[in-house]
Each structure stands twice: as C-alpha cells, then as structure tokens.
Amino acid sequence: MTPDQIVFLIVALVTLGAGFMVVTTRNLVHAALWLVATLFGVAITYALLNASFLAVVQVVVYIGAIAILFIFAVMLTRKDMRDQGAQLNKNWWFGALLSISTFAGLFFILQGWSGFSKTATAYPSGFDAISELGNELVSPAGYVLPFEVASVLLVAALVGAVYVAFNPRNGDNHK
C-alpha cells in the first residue's frame, strides 16, 4: 500500500465512525461535535483528492457556519441535552432498506467503472486549479447558469430570513 492509501483508509474509517456516532449518541451537543469530526474527515478526503479549494470551503462553510448554527440551535431550544425518547421509530426498516439499496446500487454501478484502477494524472506545471474553477463558474460555456441560480436562491433565503425576523408591530426593533 502506498502512503496515500494508508492515509485515505484511516481518514475514511474515522469519518465513518464519527458519522455513526452522530446518529447513535444520546447527547445532542455531542452529536453536533461528532458531525464536526465527520465533516472534517470529508474535508481531508477533498484535500487527498487535490481539491484544496473544496477542502477549505468545506471547513469554512460546514464547520465554521453550519455546525456552529446546529450547536446554537440545540443549546437555545433544549433545556436537557439528553435525548430520552426511543432512537428508532416504526419506519426504521424502510430507512434501512432505502440506505442498503442505495449503497448496493452505487456499489454495482461503480464496480464496472474503470476509474478505480487508474491513478490520477498529475497537474501540468503552472496549472492553477483555482483560476480554472473560477473561470468555469462565470463562463457562459461553463457553469454560469447554475452559479447564478444558486446565487438567486441564496438571496431569496436571505430576504426570507429578514422577513421572518422582522417584527412589524414593533416598528423598527432596535431599542
């Protein structure tokens, strides 16, 4: 095994283990912290794939914003951090069936894929992956439409959040 493979296996195991802990631990803040570990493992996987931009954005967005918001929400809405109810409801067999069939489907599709045995070609010298990504995101031949649609969606979410938070009875609510 090459060092890359060893690192990948360790990271993948830690990511999976942390992901398992997210859904099994009883303490909600602990679940959120295990989620942070899972997301960090995904970021390392991106870094192993030479996608440094995605790796760092993963940490900034998911750990820096989303996980922190999760913890905030849990801490502000729950008096008792321990989840007392049953961990499975009566639909558990349907969820298990769905996840197993998804995994099996992906497994069978990817088994025939030739990409597994290939090693990735190295970037040619002077190749700047980030400027390539940036150009692709705004070029009409590339992904400008999805990019703009995502931007409009985010603006709509922002306006919606302001609308929900604004209290018209209070007038301007800075006192």
């Binding site: 900034v60 750990i63 820096g64 914003a65 922190i68 980030i130």
Partner: protein, 398 residues
C-alpha cells in the same frame, strides 16, 4: 548556496544526508524532516508567546501610566517564566457536571487554531510552511476552528456565565468574519492570487496605498475576531465575570490566554502581509532571509502594538450596537469596497502606475467619505428621535 542565503533548504538537505546515511528510506526521511520543521516552528512560536505576555503587560502598563512587571530579571523579562511555573503548579480543577472530554479538548483546539495559521505565513522569501494557492481562505478556516473551541469551552463548563459569554463571543465572531473575509479578498483581487506568498510578491506598492479603507476595515474586523476591546464581549467582567473561560484553571486557562496573545500577534502579521508588503522593505529582504524575518517580525509587532493601543484606549461597546455596526455599516461598506476595487482595478490596470495608485486611493477616500456621511445622517436621525429636533432657533433669539 550557503546557509545564510537559504537556511531552510540547506538544513533540510543536511538532515536528509544524515537520515539516508542511517539507511532510512527517502520517503520516511522526508516525513521526519517535515515533522521536525513543524516542531521547530511551533517551539519558536511558543517561546515567542511567553515573551508576548511580557510585551502585553509592559505595553498596557505604559498606556495606564504604570511601570508594569519590573521585579524579576532585567525589565521584568523573567516574569512570564515565573508566571508559567505558577500556572503549571496550580491545582487543575474541573467543575462538577462538566463534560470532561469536551472541556479538556477546548483549550487545545483554541491553541491549535492559532498555531496552524503559521503554516501559510511566509516568514521570508524562501522560508514558508506550505505555499498553497488558497492561503486567504485557509486563514478563515482556521478561525472557524477557533470559534468552535470557544463554544465548546462555554458549553462544557456547565456554567451559565461561561455559556452566555460563549454565545456572545461566537455571535460577534461569526458576524465579523464576513467583513474580514471580504477585506481579505481585496489583496486577492489586486494580486490576482489567494496565496499569501504571491500576495507579498505582487506588492511592489503596498496595498495600504491602494486600499487604505480596506486595511482599516480589516483591522476593525480582526480586532472583533480576536475578541479584544472594544469588542471583548465574552469578557464583560462586570456582567459575565470572565466569559467562556471562567471555569478553567492553571495551564488550561494559560492556553486560552496564550492563544489569544499569539492570535493578536499573528493578525498583526497578517495585516502586514496583506497591506504592508510582509517581509518586503525596499529590497532589504533580498539581502538575507534573516533580515526578511526581522522585517516581518517588526511589522507584525507594529500591527500588534496598534491592536493593543486600540484595546487599552477604547471602552467596550454594547453588544446590540456592535452587531448593528457590523451588519448595517461594516458589511455593506466591505461589499461596496470590493465591487469598486474590482471595477477600478479592471479599469485602470492598463494605465500608468501613478494614475493607477491615485485612482485606487481616491476611490477609497470617496467611499469612506460617503459612508461617513450616511452614518452621520443616520445618527442625527436617531438622536432627534430621542432628544427631539436640534434647537436651531435658539441662536436667532440672541
């Protein structure tokens, strides 16, 4: 190539010769040398950190018209070492009902989030941890881990004051992250790269002259991100005792404290890298890498001193004012500044250097003036709402 021109490479080659001479495979030797490099850098930083305690205490005493530590050693220089011995032999307490693992993990993460920043700091032209092309984003990602450590500390302490302190501090940090990231995009636009070493290499003119407003907004956002006065929400002593780190004792508290000091120094360094040319100073950095290190450290200390000056001069702002200041003033200003900077950069990039510099500078001054006018009219309106209209007619009677 001698040791004085490229110390890092010479040392690495020398170690490589030794390790492979022992029959170690080249890959293992490379990993070991990288590990040693990290170890040496962190050791130097931690020793510097001890020294920073002394610097901070001496400077604050000057601002408050005191003498500061002066008993142990010359100028009280040995004082921080005595403090460390005190911290180490203090009782290590854990509050009842604390979440032990999270409680002990938080100070480590806090220190780590500062130390990993130094991976992308170009200390000299040839001395750099990793030259990644996303250095600017990496800084923000490291800050995210710092935010996480604060909320972990606040929650796991099982103390109301700690939790409220953590809430307030994290609210400030995730809000001021936005203008800070936006202002880090200005050197990115001007240099055409997010890598810290390229940003320095492109700075034949300090970006401070191209974007003085950007440098100012970055400094304000960085001070808030550091949680220092006037933004030291977490430490409102009169209301929160000491904030998120109230339950920590001994060296665990020391980790938070040392992390905060090193963070401030590091942001002084980043300020100088982004807007003041980093290790560059009229070609002096080409003479010797050691001179370049001295220049960077000097500039970082200047930035650190400025942060301390602000901290010990201004009073704490109320939290709603602080958040309103960020969301209603600083963030729109930052985004306007990015748009204008990108536009002016594209418009003037083909012209002569002097036109480029003056155009960039004047556009910044114009934006600052407009922003201040808007803020002034807003504050006048607010004041009138409370006090009633200004008595203008009074002058006519006399």
């Amino acid at each position: 190539m001698s040791f004085w021109n490229d110390p890092l490479k010479v040392a690495a080659d020398w170690l490589m010769g030794i390790f492979t001479g022992w029959g170690m495979p080249e890959l293992a030797a490379n990993i070991l040398i990288g590990f040693l490099g990290v170890l040496i850098l962190i050791s130097i930083l931690m020793v510097l950190d001890i020294f920073l305690v002394w610097v901070e205490r001496k400077v604050v005493s000057r601002f408050q018209d005191r003498i500061g530590p002066n008993r142990v050693g010359p100028f009280g220089l040995i004082q921080p070492f005595a403090d460390i011995i005190k911290l180490l032999i203090k009782e290590d307490t854990t509050p009842g009902g604390a979440d032990r693992v999270v409680y002990n993990l938080a100070p480590m993460l806090s220190m780590m989030s500062v130390l990993i920043l130094w991976a992308v700091v170009p200390i000299a032209p040839t001395i750099l941890g990793v030259d990644i092309n996303i250095g600017v984003l990496y800084i923000v990602a490291a800050g995210a881990i710092g935010t996480l450590s604060i909320i972990m500390a606040g929650w796991s302490s099982n103390n109301k004051f700690a939790t409220i302190g953590a809430f307030r501090q994290v609210a400030v940090m995730i809000s001021f992250e936005i203008p800070m990231l936006a202002m880090m995009l200005i050197p990115t636009i001007l240099a055409g790269s997010m890598g810290t070493s390229q940003i320095i290499e492109q700075q034949s003119v300090w970006y401070f002259f191209l974007s003085p407003l950007g440098a100012l907004v970055f400094l304000i956002a960085a001070i808030a991100e550091l949680g220092r006065a006037p933004f030291d929400m977490a430490e409102g002593e009169s209301e929160l005792v000491s904030g998120y780190n109230i339950e920590y004792s001994g060296m665990k508290f020391g980790m938070f404290y040392a992390g905060e000091l090193l963070h401030a120094f590091t942001f002084g360094g980043f300020w100088s890298i982004m807007f003041f040319g980093g290790y560059r100073f009229f070609g002096l950095e080409q003479v010797s890498p050691f001179l370049a290190i001295a220049i960077l450290v000097f500039k970082a200390f200047l930035g650190y001193w400025l942060i301390m000056w602000v901290r010990y001069t201004l009073l704490r702002i109320r939290i709603d004012h602080m958040l309103a200041f960020n969301w209603k003033f600083l963030t729109p200003l930052a985004f306007t500044l990015i748009i204008v900077t990108a536009f002016m950069n594209a418009l003037l990039s083909g012209t002569s250097t002097w036109l480029y510099i003056s155009g960039m500078f004047l556009s910044n001054v114009l934006i600052a003036w407009i922003a201040l006018e808007i803020a002034r009219s807003y504050s006048r309106k607010e004041r009138e709402k409370i006090q009633g209209p200004k008595p203008v007619v009074e002058a006519a009677h006399h």
